[in-house]
Symmetry: C2
Subunit: 465 residues, 2 copies
C-alpha cells in the first residue's frame, strides 16, 4: 500500500485536496464515530493502515474524554509504538491509566532504546511500573541504559548492532548475517572491531553488498569515522550527524570499547528537538505541548511573563524620572514607545542570529570579534536611516524640529546599543556555559527598553526644556 | 583516524577541553599561519584531515582577505565538496572568483544532486558558468533536475539509485550489485519496480544481506512504503521523513514512474533549514548569514524594522488620542508601557506555540477549536494573576486605588486579546496559505500594543478623570 503525504490537508476537512493525507479530519471523524458506536472491529480496521505516529497524532488531537473511550475500546490491541510517538506529557498520563495487561503487551512491540526513551521522562513510580511490565532480559538492558546521564549518547544509542573482526571476508560477514537471527531492526553498517572490542573501522552495507565474497573487510572498511563517547550530550551528537552527514556512528565507553550505535534517525529527532527548544526559549515558552491542560500551560508561561513584568516595571521607573518633562511636553509620552520598540526589535534580530550561530557553531572565538563589529555597524547604519525617518515624522506630526532631532538621536543610540546587547549578551552567557537562548531575550529587551526611554526622555529634558 | 567532536571547544581557544574538536581556534590559527607563510604543502597537510564541512566553516570564520589568500594558496587542490558545505551567499562569491580550472576540477568531486543544490541558488550568469564547467553527461542530469520547481522533491532527490524486479532472488540482486560499477555513493534500499517502472516495494539492504541467496525479493520486500511525488515541497518531504522515521523513499513522476530517491540525510538538512526559517521569521530576520557584509545585513533587516516602525507609530497615534488624560495624570505615561509589553510577550508565547504546532501539523482543523479555547483561558488566567500583581504595584507606587484597578482591568483585557490574537492570526494566515511565521509577529504585537494602550488609557480617561 502506498501513502502520499499531502499535508495541505492538515487544515482540510471535507474540502481537503485529494484527502490522501493519512490524517485529514474526515479520517479522525470516522475513527471517533466508530468509538461512539463502540464498534471495536471497525476502529481496529480504521487504525490498521495508520502509522503509529499518525495514531499518536489522533490521540493528541481528540479531547480527553474521546481519548479515554478510544483507548478503552482499542484495549490490548493497543500498539506499543504509539507510546513512543506521543508527546511526553500525554504519554505520562497514558502510562498511568493503561491497564497492566495492555501495558505489557504494548511494551513487547518496542526496541530497547524506544523503551529507554519512554521511561526516562517518567517519575520514579511510573518508571517501576513500566520496568515491571518488561521481561527480565529487556529490563536489564533498559536499566543499564538508564545508568547513563539524561540526554547523553548512552541514552540515545541502541545496543543491538552488527560487528565483525577486520580479518573476516565479505563472505564471512554475509554468512554471519544470514545465520544470526537476532539482528537489529535497522542497521546500515558493520562495525569493525579489534580484539579489545574497540572500533577500528566500519563497512557500509552498500559496500559490503557490492564487493566479492573473498574481499577482506579490512580492505574495504572506512577507517575515517567518528566515534561518539557514551557520555556526549545528545545535542553534540546531533550536531556531528548534521555537520558530517553521518548515517550511523559507533558509541564507545571510557575505555574506547564499543557499547552501541547511534543512527541518523535518532539524531534527526534530537536535531528537531534542539531547534524547537531554541525557538521556544527565545520567545519565552517552556517545554509545553498542545495537550497540556489550561492550568499547566498557565503555570508554564507565568515565570516568563513574571520576568517580563520586572523588566517592564524597570522601564517605568526610568520613565518616572522624567515625569516633569513629560508633564511639560506630553508629545514625549506619545512618541517614547517608538524608540523603545524599535530597539527591542533590532536587538531581537541580532540575538536570533547570534543564538542560532552559536548553536550551529558558526559563531566561535575565531570570528566573534568580527561578528560583534559587524552587528554594531549594522545597528549604527539602521539607526541612522530610521533616525531620519522618525525625525521627519516627529517634525511633521508635532511641528518641532528640535523634537525630531531628539527622536533621531535617541533612535541611533538605541539601535546601536541593541546591536551590541544582541550579540554580547548571548556570547557572554555561552562563555558562562548558560544556554544563550534561555536568558538572552529578557536581558536584551531590558537593555533596549531602559536605554530607549532614558535616551529619548533624557535628551528631551536637556534639549527641549 | 578517529575524531571526537567536543564542541565545547567552539569557544575554547588554547584552554579548550581536549582540543580534539576539529575546529578549535588553535587549528584555525595554524591554518592561517601556513597561509601567511605561503606554505602550500603545510596548508594542504593541515586541511587534509578536516571534513569538507569543517573546511567550509574555516572559510566562513576567517576574514575576506584571509579567505582570498587561503584559496589562492590552495589552488586546484580545492575540494569541491567544500562548495556544497558553504553558506549560500559566500558560495556565490566563491563561484564568481574561483578560476575556471579550479572550478571544473572542484565540480568533478560532486554528486549530481549536490551540483543541483549548488547551482539552483545562483544567478543565471553564474549558473551557466558552473554548467559549462561540467562534463556533458553530468550537465544533462543537472539541467533535468533544474526543470523541477525550486524546493521540490525533484530538486532534492538523487537520480542514482538501485532497483530490481520482484522476481529476482537475493542472489541475483547481490550479483547485480557486485557487477554494477556505477553505484550511488550511498544507498540503503533496493527499490522493487514493476515492468512499467512503478515502485511496488523496497528491500532494505539489511534484509537483503540477512536472507539466503535463493529468496525471492518479492517475499522479503516491504510493500508498505511512502512514495514521494516529484513536485512535493521539500518541507512536506522532510515532514514525512521525520513523522514516519523513513530512511529513504522513492520519488515518482506524474505517471507514478520511479525517477529518483531521497535519503534521510537530505531530509535532515531540509528539516534543519525549515526549523531555522520559522525561528528567523518569527523574530524578524531574513535568510542572512554571518558572512554577509554589513550593508547586506542592514538591507536584510531594514524591512522588518520598517514594519515595526509603522506598528509603533500606530500605537503612538492611539496614545495621542489621550494626550489630555496623560497631561492630567502623568503617572499614566509611566505605567502604560507595562500593559502593552506584557500583552506583547503573552501574544508571542501563544504565537510561538501555534506556529510550531502548525509546522509539525499538531494543530489541525480537528483540534483548532479546543486549542483556541485553551489559549483564551490561559490568557484570561494569567491576566487575572498579573492584574492583581500590577494593581498592587500601581496602588503602592502612586497611592491611588483607582489607578490600580485601571491597571488590572487593562492587563486582563490585553492578555485575553493577546491569547486570541496569538492563536487566531497564525491559523487564519495558514488557511490563506500564507506562512504564519512570516507575518504573524507584526500583526500580534500591533494588536497587543494598540489594545494595551487603548484599554489602559481609555479606562483611565473614564474612571480617573
Amino acid at each position: 500500500m502506498q501513502d502520499q503525504i499531502t499535508p495541505d490537508d492538515a487544515f482540510g476537512g471535507p474540502d481537503a485536496g485529494d484527502g490522501a493525507y493519512a490524517l485529514d479530519t474526515v479520517a479522525i471523524d470516522a475513527i471517533l464515530e466508530s468509538v461512539e458506536a463502540g464498534d471495536q472491529s471497525r476502529l481496529i480496521e480504521l487504525l490498521a493502515p495508520l502509522h503509529s505516529a499518525d495514531i499518536a497524532d489522533v490521540l493528541e488531537q481528540i479531547s480527553g474524554a474521546e481519548r479515554e473511550a478510544l483507548l478503552g475500546l482499542w484495549g490490548t490491541e493497543f500498539d506499543g509504538d504509539v507510546l513512543s510517538e506521543l508527546d511526553e506529557n500525554l504519554r505520562a498520563d497514558l502510562i498511568e491509566t493503561l491497564p497492566a495487561d495492555v501495558m505489557s503487551s504494548a511494551l513487547k512491540d518496542l526496541e530497547s532504546d524506544d523503551v529507554v526513551d519512554l521511561v526516562e521522562d517518567l517519575e520514579q513510580l511510573q518508571q517501576t511500573r513500566v520496568l515491571d511490565a518488561l521481561e527480565q532480559a529487556d529490563r536489564v538492558v533498559v536499566e543499564q541504559s538508564l545508568q547513563y546521564p539524561e540526554e547523553s549518547a548512552g541514552r540515545l544509542m541502541q545496543r543491538e548492532l552488527v560487528m565483525a573482526p577486520a580479518h573476516w571476508t565479505v563472505g564471512d560477514a554475509i554468512d554471519h548475517l544470514r545465520s544470526e537471527n537476532d539482528l537489529p531492526y535497522r542497521f546500515y553498517v558493520v562495525v569493525i572491531v579489534d580484539p579489545k572490542m574497540q572500533p577500528i573501522g566500519k563497512v557500509a552495507l552498500s559496500d559490503l553488498m557490492s564487493s566479492p565474497r573473498d574481499t577482506m573487510l579490512a580492505t574495504i572498511m572506512d577507517e575515517h569515522f567518528h566515534v561518539i563517547p557514551v557520555t556526549q550530550t545528545q545535542e553534540d551528537v546531533a550536531y556531528a550527524f548534521n555537520q558530517y552527514h553521518m548515517v550511523s556512528a559507533p558509541v564507545v565507553d571510557e575505555e574506547g570499547r564499543l557499547v552501541g550505535v547511534i543512527t541518523i534517525d535518532d539524531a534527526m529527532l534530537v536535531l528537531d528537538e534542539e531547534a524547537e527548544e531554541d525557538l521556544r526559549l527565545l520567545n519565552g515558552v517552556g517545554d509545553e505541548s498542545l495537550t497540556d491542560s489550561v492550568l499547566d500551560t498557565t503555570r508554564q508561561r507565568f515565570p516568563w511573563l513574571g520576568v517580563n513584568l520586572i523588566t517592564a516595571v524597570l522601564a517605568s521607573v526610568v520613565i518616572s524620572q522624567f515625569s516633569d518633562t513629560i508633564e511639560a511636553i506630553v508629545a514625549l509620552a506619545v512618541l517614547m514607545p517608538i524608540v523603545a520598540s524599535m530597539g527591542g526589535n533590532a536587538g531581537t534580530q541580532t540575538l536570533t542570529v547570534a543564538v542560532r550561530a552559536l548553536a550551529t557553531k558558526d559563531l566561535t572565538a575565531s570570528n566573534a570579534m568580527r561578528v560583534i563589529r559587524r552587528e554594531v555597524m549594522v545597528g549604527l547604519l539602521n539607526g541612522l536611516v530610521f533616525a531620519v525617518i522618525i525625525g521627519v515624522v516627529g517634525v511633521v506630526w508635532f511641528g518641532s524640529a528640535m523634537l525630531g532631532v531628539v527622536l533621531g538621536l535617541a533612535m541611533i543610540a538605541n539601535l546601536l546599543i541593541a546591536g551590541m546587547a544582541g550579540i554580547l549578551i548571548p556570547i557572554t552567557l555561552t562563555k558562562l556555559k548558560i544556554d544563550p537562548a534561555l536568558a538572552s531575550g529578557a536581558f536584551v529587551t531590558t537593555v533596549t527598553d531602559v536605554v530607549g526611554f532614558f535616551a529619548f526622555l533624557g535628551l528631551a529634558a536637556v534639549m527641549l526644556t
